[in-house]
Symmetry: C2
């Protein structure tokens, strides 16, 4: 089907051992290899830096005890206004919750609590003595009414897959888990509107919708564990944002419980409703600080009949920008992903996995383009025309189009396998930032230069240097860059070069220090790099309006003192 363009030829990928794409997003694929451990001079620790995320690695870290957050951050003090939990409180909760299994108390069963106290990246660990798993919005309301009366602090928890420590307690906050509220309430195939409990797992919602020829407008790596309520309360971004927009546009309504137990039933199913303040918007991205989302209604797009995936090599970032403009123009309405990976990321993946490069050569930049449309022939024709254009004009140097699903999945691995590949040498300093496209890649270049000048970069072979390299990839279609510094060991010199330099760099470009991961505990004290004092003051007012006692998810999100 492909035509050659100029002197270049387009190859069809012939990749061995294609595995299911669903697998590559499963949590089990995220483990750090044994080799990573061997190469690590200083073992992964939770105390290096507040902005450091260890590579998600349950199987590795399971062998080590996670340090308590309060020990890592001794400056953070328990708010003395909050009451201490008593046996009477626990008895009260047992009385208001319909099922005995809805109350998990440390004095009854300490082991089950651990999973709720420790976050997914095993960096934060709280000391909660009580987890409550309400089954209805009324039960959530009764819980919060009581907590409010007693001044007991609360952490709402969904799938606990966040990367910034937002969903686990810091001290002894009560965990309210939404895991027992996991029913689809309704789906309308004509309008595409889904109404469901907050505790429905994203993948379950997506599967339910796929059977009905629709998809959830959000997709992300943790889909097998994360809850849709958590997605909404953290305003998750992910892989489909380029095409379907943010949750602020697709979520039509929320059901939420305010800290005083008031139930806000705003589960609208209408695309248009201009009747006063759009309250749900305040809850989207509020990270559990103003109430607990117990249900959502969301507009779901139809499932695309055809999905195509292409992978390209380019010689410079200015060519990448040209390709992006052409893709937006020629692929227009079917463009569903435009992912950038720099050459070094591909080297790391190649070295770590021993897989052959998808193209004959490795280029300074690679992009992965996906289209999703209603007509396979049309989409393929558009993609071919785009390819001829960008190759004819020498915007891309080489490219390959996946011919079937398994080839597409293999190509996607060169993008989605990067977090794992980076962790191969020991660990990674990770930043999830938004940068205006004009300077999208400059952050990586500037950072790389910084480390090279400091003589800290050893590449993949020189084991005497801490830094393997400085790499960047990301959802370029959304201006969302993942700056990663893979290291052999955690090193104070490296940390000092990174912070606050990265945040200052972002601030100068009016970027965002947290594009999609949120603030949680990890970035509370860095938010001023992206939002000014006025915005923060208004945020504090909003917080106080909804949660005057401050019992919801304390110690996180934004600093409550100016």
């Amino acid at each position: 089907m492909m035509q050659s363009a100029g002197c270049r030829t387009l190859r069809l990928v012939q990749l061995p051992c294609a595995t299911l794409r669903a697998t590559r997003r499963a949590r089990s694929t995220r483990s750090v290899s044994t080799r990573a451990l061997q190469n690590s001079r200083r073992p992964l620790s939770n105390s290096v830096s507040r902005s450091f995320s260890t590579q998600p690695s349950r199987c590795y870290a399971a062998s080590k005890e996670v340090k308590f957050t309060v020990d890592n951050y001794p400056n953070v003090k328990r708010d003395a206004r909050f009451s201490q939990l008593t046996r009477e409180d626990v008895d009260h909760f047992k009385g208001i919750l319909s099922s005995p299994s809805s109350v998990v108390y440390a004095e009854d069963d300490a082991s089950e609590l651990e999973g709720f106290n420790t976050d997914w990246v095993r960096k934060y660990r709280g000391k909660s003595q009580l987890v409550l798993k309400p089954k209805t919005v009324e039960e959530v309301s009764e819980i919060l009414k009581y907590c409010s009366k007693r001044n007991l602090a609360v952490v709402p928890q969904g799938g606990n897959t966040g990367l910034v420590g937002g969903s686990v307690p810091v001290f002894d906050e009560i965990v309210v888990s939404l895991s027992s509220m996991n029913s689809i309430r309704s789906f309308d195939e004509v309008s595409g509107v889904l109404v469901c409990d907050a505790g429905v797992i994203l993948e379950s919602a997506d599967s339910y919708l796929r059977e009905r020829n629709h998809i959830f407008p959000l997709d992300l790596g943790a889909k097998g564990s994360c809850h849709v309520g958590g997605n909404v309360s953290t305003n998750a971004g992910g892989l489909r944002l380029l095409r379907y927009g943010s949750l602020h546009g697709t979520v039509l309504g929320v059901e939420a419980v305010l800290p005083d137990g008031t139930i806000l039933n705003d589960l609208q199913t209408l695309r248009k409703n201009n009747t006063g303040f759009d309250l749900k918007q305040v809850f989207i991205g509020s990270e559990g600080t103003i109430g607990i989302i117990t249900g959502i209604s969301i507009l779901c797009p139809r499932r695309s009949n055809a999905v195509h995936t292409a992978y390209f090599g380019l010689t410079s970032f200015s060519q990448v920008k040209k390709a992006f403009i052409k893709a937006k123009r020629d692929l227009g309405e079917i463009l569903s992903a435009f992912e950038l990976m720099d050459g070094l990321t591909q080297d790391l993946y190649h070295t770590a996995t021993k897989k052959p490069y998808p193209l004959d050569s490795r280029y300074p930049f690679h992009i992965l383009i996906e289209t999703s449309g209603s007509n396979a022939d049309h989409d393929m024709a558009k993609l071919e025309a785009f390819l001829e254009q960008v190759m004819g004009e020498e915007i891309v140097a080489d490219g390959t189009l996946a011919q079937d699903k398994s080839q597409a999945e293999e190509l996607w691995k060169w993008r989605e396998g990067l977090p794992e590949a980076c962790a191969h040498w020991g660990g990674t300093y990770k930043y999830d930032v938004s940068v205006p496209l004009n300077e999208f890649y400059t952050l990586v270049e500037d950072c790389r230069k910084r480390f090279e000048e400091a003589g800290l970069v050893g590449g993949t072979t020189n084991e005497s240097k801490p830094v393997v390299g400085v790499v960047g990839w990301g959802h370029m279609g959304d201006s969302n860059l993942h700056l990663n510094v893979p290291v052999r060991w955690y090193d104070k010199q490296v940390e000092k070069l990174l912070e606050p330099w990265v945040y200052e760099w972002i601030q100068k470009r009016k970027g965002s220090i947290s594009a999609e991961h949120g603030l949680g505990f990890a970035k509370r004290d860095y938010v001023q790099y992206s939002r000014d004092a006025t915005a923060l003051e208004i945020m504090r007012r909003v917080k106080k309006t909804f949660d005057p006692q401050g019992i919801m998810n304390p110690y996180k999100y934004i600093p409550m003192d100016a």
Copy 2:
């Protein structure tokens, strides 16, 4: 290009005298014909009902003086907490605004004030003595700082094209017009992000973008006059929402001035930014009640290379629903409009304009479908395939595809000319509502039955009856129905049959009493039909958080007393 399907043939439209589509949306086309005046037993008045909107008709109503809102609604009292404007206040404003023309004071020039005091539908008229036209955000800040100190009430005003009396004073509030803040600040062709002043006229922004191969993600009838800041502050819906989503998804940032003069500079240009509460969302749709939007940043889609328009006849609403599902499936990503018009609307348009019907027969339902895509051949092929399907399965009874731009414009008139056609007999009772698709048209049927049973319907010929008919049309793709009751004269019997019946009907279906027009002054006291007491109480808290003195756009939006 078209293939016949079954026993039906598809005709190409041959419509005479095609006029430019731009014209059909211009304000000048909205005048009520002389015949409408002659047939009107009781002249259009402003006192009939708070929910009644006269058909926009500057040239008709210009001959009549608009009654003051306070005379029409004597129960609404001026809030005694607000100060009275003094000559010293005016002198102060003259001192802080850079240009003498920025201050329009009644004692200097009363005539210019009239246009700012009277709303576009000439139903509401305030008694403001002062209009301020700041040129910068700093001037807006100085104005509000002073008003706040002096407790002077303020009405922000954009293009003053609203339909619910939200943009004009009720009493003596100071009008702050954004008309002198009308510059494009920046546009990035790679990301498609436009940053501009709030006072930029929507059509100007769209023209600017079209020259750069993009479009504004919003389009509506008043585009020639309305301001983008007003669009954002009223969360305008319009014609492109089906395709590009709501402003909550496309607006990336706002610059706004709070009632105390604080400038919130939240003009983000990033698609992803999860750093605290998304404050701009509170401003979108707040209708000037919490501050003044002075600038916006917005994500603009690329202009489509190809636009196709088709018009169909269908025999029942259940067939319409089937066609909608098929359109979503087969046209998918290129579907940009799915507009419903019932048969009677087409009769009214036919009678009022004497134009021949687009199809051989008039059907109980007609739909207008528009596609916008990047490849004309592909889009046409999709449309043809869709047509063969829906005609083969007898979902649609007949259809026609426009062959060029002027034919498309002629077809669009059968949808966009309906407000004018309804007003042809005198006036129209209008409701802009959202209804779940399952019962989308039932409201019209139920309402029609009600009037027929009451013996009030005279059709287009029986001049002894007030009601011409009960008709419905709307943006079906967005569940947005326009219920219209064209009448020969305004009649208390008609009003009593309509209200509160329509609102109660909507409330039972969890619809919205204001899909896209907002609340303003007209619907403040009806909002409880769409939002419950809890939501309203939270809204009051939000209002007080941003505007503790209540000086911003008082007497409107939501009732501040429970």
